[in-house]
Amino acid sequence: MKDIVSVDHLRVEFATDGGTVVGVQDVSFTIAPGETLCVVGESGSGKSVTSLSLMRLVEFGGGTITQGALNFTRADGSTLDVAAASAQVMGQVRGNEIGMIFQEPMTALNPVFTIERQLTDGLMLHKGLSQSEATERALDLLKSVRIPEPEQRLKQYPHELSGGMRQRVVIAMAMACEPKLLIADEPTTALDVTIQAEILALINRLKRENGMAVLFITHDMAVVAQMADRVVVMYQGRIVETGPVAQIFENPREDYTKALLAAVPKLGEMKGKAAPERMRLIGDEAARAAQAPRKPRTAKVLLEVKNLTTRFPVKGGILRRTMAQVHAVEDVSFTINVGETLALVGESGCGKSSCGRSILRLIEPTSGEILINGNDIRALNRPDLRRARADMQMVFQDPFASLNPYRRLRAQVAEPLQNFNLASGADLEARVLDLFDRVRLPRDFMNRFPHELSGGQRQRVAIARALALNPKLIVADEAVSALDVSVQAQVLNLMMELQEDLGLSYLFISHDMAVVERVAHQVGVMYLGRIVEIGPRAAIFDNPSHPYTRSLLSAVPIADPATRRFEGDMNFKPISSPIFPLGHQPAKSQYTQVAPGHFVLQG
């Protein structure tokens, strides 16, 4: 059968102030009908440039296709070289014969048009349908992407739908004209893990039913393992390796592919291991050297949180009165031992970040107790709180936003020390140097500004800054989520190393179950502001006892093409709203102990 797409020696260049930059070069691949080709790579690898070139959208971003052919087999069987096609022909192809799904479902939909309008526009343009025919077809499309109450959805606006439903609409739009090729550019990166599972299953089903070819762009090796028939691994604008998915995962040829795979935490690979373990990265000698046997920990409680509740007012009306409350954190209790990691996992909006911020009182909790070494944080006045925070530091998700772009790194790492007059002059310099050594950053980075560093390096600076005050507890709020997988592994290893050396405790807030399995001693699963299940890591992963924990675990993609999880339709219970009217008093959290230290929320 004729390939739908055949890309031959593609080269795309971008003209910038600093001269010509090559986006991708020498990229060749083919996609057969009914086949999913995954293009995988880290940021800057040129994977998106490749997909945008196929739509000739790359020109809108300042790129030029300077070499190569992009042959696309059209519906009538003729072959079109997209690279040489006129704007008029591309207008017929785009959205009609090639559909595209974007990463961010909110921005891919126009907020001022109803769902009906977004769906019917393309149908009337490309297929020449009348308004009523198009509406009928739109309804069919919504049914085929399994949106509940499709008739009602047609009249709604994008903001009235949840993230998962929006992405379903985007897919319905891409499918509207029954394209022969579907390009999905990181379609689930912005979504929660259960919604990701639903969307992946949906794409699989649509592919099977319509015999489309799918070009799937992603940075996530686990998603690749679940989705791909064949894989193209890209690095710095070039193809490193290409092959069937089983071969890439089981028998990678190139060192880069091997390194990439080694850096991916795989759910289930920590089974039977008592303590967290660093990842064995290729070329990272420090991690390769067998970890010194851990000193047996004497379980000493560092942080004790009792019945923590944090609510935010929802203001409305002309007088901006408080109309309702968001119950962000609801009756949460846990303890963290010295030198241990408690991971809080959950999907967006479950209150895990609010919980972390409440502990540092960066947001004020409504009620509850926070005891660190027996010292009640909530009882402190402002000057005392400021001193107490020296024991608890925070590392944030976005390494680009958590450093001040206008200050040199030396000043940013030294700032906590200066705040408490802990060091000055040569002593301060020595302390800062020591911190840079600790996080394995070259010393001359001290004089740089944040923009001169990569994401992983910035996150190391953020960790150095958090370490400056010799804290006992570090709240890591999605600290590795924004990083590329190889960098993520290095930062995780650094965090675990620091824990061993310094006896740090972490409150590790994350949405990524596979990462949590790697780093955590204890795991708390959060849902709608409450901890629904908490216990030792092994207990949570081997014997998940709350239905939510189970569905969460079943939705995690596994980086192993032999265990495909997203074949049938998947439908998870949508998360309800944590907004309640004023004065609403929810029931207290009652737990059942299913095993020593393993608690499950009742009801």
Partner: protein, 271 residues
């Protein structure tokens, strides 16, 4: 450093240097009464060798008046904008950083001032204080403050929500130090841009006040006053409008170009 001296930046700096030199040195070298001496035989004379830029309705030499006016106009405009930044920056910074009650009180104050057109406000202040250069500066400075405060507040509000501010707070940095170390440098670009635009408006505001008899008092010269005076004779003596108008335009152009360069110099990312 060299990278900032783009053609655009160079033009801006050269323009400003010329204008500043004219404004400072000009009044020292030209005869003291040159700008006020009337030549009734050459009223509204077009540009010629005798009067390079022509003369106005009273036969005064336009070139000398533009040179003398530069000093008055720029002195008033620059002082007024510096004053409005001095008032508006702390107001906006505190309001945006702390938010809540403080923000509400300060911004209602600012909104009250905003409810009056800037020129009307300046007019009132100037009328109460009396017409002289100092009072004109105060009037324009106060009238421009709410606009700056509003813009700075918006920027401060944005920056105050950045994770690096939260990180600083978590590591024990006091509010005052956060505002100086973290918020201020990040809102400076907006202040610079707004400041250079305000300078242009300040030159024109001075003109408005002068026209109403409350700014610069004749026979002293200012660019604004000259533009206003040309109003009735645009058809017969267009140069009386073009010459001071061009002076204002070139100044604003120079300022904008210089402002952009200044912003780039302050931004470590552009290095």
């Amino acid at each position: 450093m060299k990278r900032f001296l783009t053609t655009k930046g160079l033009i801006g700096i050269v323009l400003l240097l010329i204008i500043a030199a004219v404004a400072i040195i000009g009044p020292m070298v030209i005869p003291p009464d040159a700008a006020t001496a009337m030549d009734m035989t050459a009223r509204r004379a077009p540009p010629s060798m005798r009067h390079l830029f022509g003369t106005d309705q009273l036969g005064r030499d336009m070139m000398f008046r533009v040179i003398l006016g530069a000093r008055t106009s720029l002195e008033i405009a620059v002082s007024a904008v510096v004053m409005s930044i001095a008032l508006g920056l702390p107001l906006g910074l505190i309001s945006g950083y702390f938010g809540g009650f403080v923000d509400n009180v300060l911004m209602r104050l600012v909104d009250t001032l905003l409810a009056f057109p800037a020129l009307l406000l300046a007019l009132t202040i100037s009328a109460v204080l009396g017409p002289n250069i100092q009072n004109t500066i105060i009037a324009i400075g106060v009238a421009f403050t709410p606009y700056l405060a509003r813009i700075i507040r918006g920027e401060a509000l944005r920056v105050a929500q950045m994770p690096y501010v939260e990180a600083a707070r978590a590591s024990g940095t006091t509010d005052g130090m956060i505002m100086i170390r973290h918020v201020l440098p990040n809102i400076l670009p907006a202040v610079i841009v707004q400041g250079t635009i305000s300078l242009a408006f300040a030159i024109l505001a001075e003109a408005g006040l002068s026209f109403l008899g409350l700014g610069t008092q004749p026979p002293a010269a200012s660019w604004g006053l000259m533009i206003q005076a040309s109003r009735d004779q645009l058809d017969i003596a267009p140069w009386t409008a073009v010459v001071p108008g061009l002076a204002v335009a070139l100044t604003v152009l120079g300022l904008n170009m210089f402002g952009d360069v200044l912003r780039d110099i302050l931004d470590p990312r552009s290095k």
